[in-house]
Symmetry: C2
């Protein structure tokens, strides 16, 4: 079976196949791309030749000629962050399903790297780009004008217009607060993430809305702000407990902080969830393995990825017309053990 026929050194090109099949290069191209205007006989002959020569069309050449790369790019702020990975996963799924490749770019949240990502689009390395931007995609205004294809931004748009997918994280924060009340909490505390960021502003806004609507308050002593990390949550909870103000429900601006806070609470002898209900946001995997499992508000990362990809492919296939479209997905409550409904204290048995 060693019908190798290897052309020694050189790559095998379309003309090699053409010669072997006794047709022109044009015919080979047509035949291999399934054109209907080729006789069944030649098609088969060509296919056999291509196979036995192990012909592989050169992608760069085809791209150059067709002016399309069959590739989209996804630029994420940090490839280590599971939330972005979740987005990447669904984007990859849609892309593959459409026969596209995926270029992954990690920007580390640096504007220079975001510009670089747009560069790949400008260079026509890719046909379209999905960009996840934290800082509200501000400096990209001009860069967006130079690119040679559609762009979809996931995250908050500061002042530019562009196809975009966001999640209503204010609504998510409100959802979290209301959930705590619904399981019987009477006084909430709130741990927010790094000041000055869009997510932290939004989440506080959401909590405020909920407070207003429920005619309740969170005194300043029960509002603390740290960065969005495990340690941040730990420190924040410690500070809350030194305030001397009683609270029995804790809303955290993300899960990492919530987990850190739970650790601190437990160290101070607070029983979860009996003494205190805790809820986070993001619904990361870790929620399922804490004790008790952490309730959270899913920000629908996967769904956002799917929608963004859809938006992008709409532009790619349907023609580029139409005004920018903004999609907003709604967060979803994931109730778990950390917010188990309160027992009425009538029949409580303390082990």
């Amino acid at each position: 079976m060693s019908q190798s026929t290897r052309p020694s050194d050189r790559r095998v090109t379309i003309t090699d196949v053409a010669k072997a099949a006794n047709v022109s290069a044009a015919t080979v191209s047509l035949a291999l791309n399934g054109s209907l205007r080729i006789s069944e006989a030649t098609r088969q002959r060509v296919e056999r030749c291509a196979l036995s020569l192990r012909y592989q069309p050169n992608h760069a050449a085809a791209s150059l000629r067709k002016q399309t790369t069959q590739t989209i790019a996804l630029a994420v702020p940090d490839i280590g962050n599971p939330v972005y990975i979740e987005i990447a996963r669904t984007v990859q799924q849609v892309a593959r399903q459409r026969g596209y490749h995926l270029h992954l770019i990690s920007t580390e949240s640096q504007p220079s790297e975001e510009a670089h990502a747009l560069g790949t689009l400008a260079h026509r390395s890719v046909d379209g780009l999905i960009l996840i931007s934290l800082r509200g995609a501000s400096g990209l205004d001009s860069a967006l004008r130079d690119v040679a294809g559609p762009v979809v931004i996931i995250g908050h748009l500061r002042d530019i217009v562009c196809d975009n997918v966001t999640v209503d994280s204010a609504a998510g924060a409100a959802l979290a607060a209301r959930h705590l009340w619904s399981v019987g909490c009477s006084q909430l505390a709130f741990i927010n993430g790094a000041a000055g960021t869009w997510p932290s502003a939004e989440r506080w806004r959401g909590v405020q809305n909920a407070l207003l609507a429920a005619n309740r308050t969170i005194p300043p002593a029960l509002r603390v702000q740290e960065d969005f990390t495990l340690d941040g949550g730990y420190r924040a909870a410690q500070r809350l407990m030194t305030q001397g103000v009683h609270f029995d429900g804790l809303v955290c601006a993300n899960d990492l902080m919530a987990i850190g806070a739970m650790r601190s609470l437990r160290e101070h002898g607070v029983h979860l969830p009996e003494d205190m209900a805790v809820i986070g946001m993001d619904d990361i995997r870790e929620c399922q393995v804490t004790t008790p499992p952490l309730s959270s508000v899913s920000l629908m990362a996967g769904e956002r990825g799917r929608l963004a990809a859809q938006l992008l492919f709409d532009r790619l296939s349907g023609g580029e017309d139409g005004p920018p479209r903004q999609l907003t997905v709604s967060p979803v409550l994931m109730a778990r053990g950390s917010t188990a409904p309160r027992q009425e204290p009538e029949a409580g048995v303390d082990a």
Copy 2:
């Protein structure tokens, strides 16, 4: 400042810049690519023109001509798996640092998709490929012969020869067992993952080695096998506890199973880590948020990615000569609360 100068519809090419700068296309190319044989004056002129025209070199054209894409591909079995993400992260780092782009392909462990990944290399979409293969890269033998560039495989090579990076997970399992003895365990149990897979075979082999060397045994009743999931671990632990054979240390073939097992143990009133030490493998993020934090054996995913990338770029830049190289990294113990050293029962105070 609106020096737009936009050539209406058409993309701006190198000849546009050439005309604007009153030089030839060749000169533009040389100037922009930093050739030394261009006068400083022309270089600056060309650069200004390129900038003001917003010229972006076409990547496909350059690739076609240069026969290189400045892109490598990484094919992972499952983009949802944090272990592979960790690999992806370091590969991406090395790639960027070398000025290369990263193509990410998720194969879902399907041989057809692995072949597809190799296809991107054959099509010269990419210059090189790192392939993470679970099933020991068996059917790829012939496909590997057709590709147009270097391939590095992360994982076990069944019978093919190829640059490759593996981790000695047998050593890792032995490490886990020895660690449990060192913290005072006298009888171990072992929860293994899905039968018939390479990792499960290796890890059991490692435990056996350790047992042999320590002159100890794990009776069959204390060896169970489930799939590598949280639920698998949960079920496995349940089965262990119905055996009626006492054990005080539990080695799990991965962290997910260990976490599931911990949950089951706790539900049965077993105190961790006082009554039972538990250790997993992989060192996933979740280890840090369980109660107690789960000890684990890191399989050095990031390091493997880094090494694989290094191997690949050695081929890419240094010339393709040299026989296949096989690298094996050593696992590292990550001791945490779940394997806290045993208190001697003399001064124990039960709260």
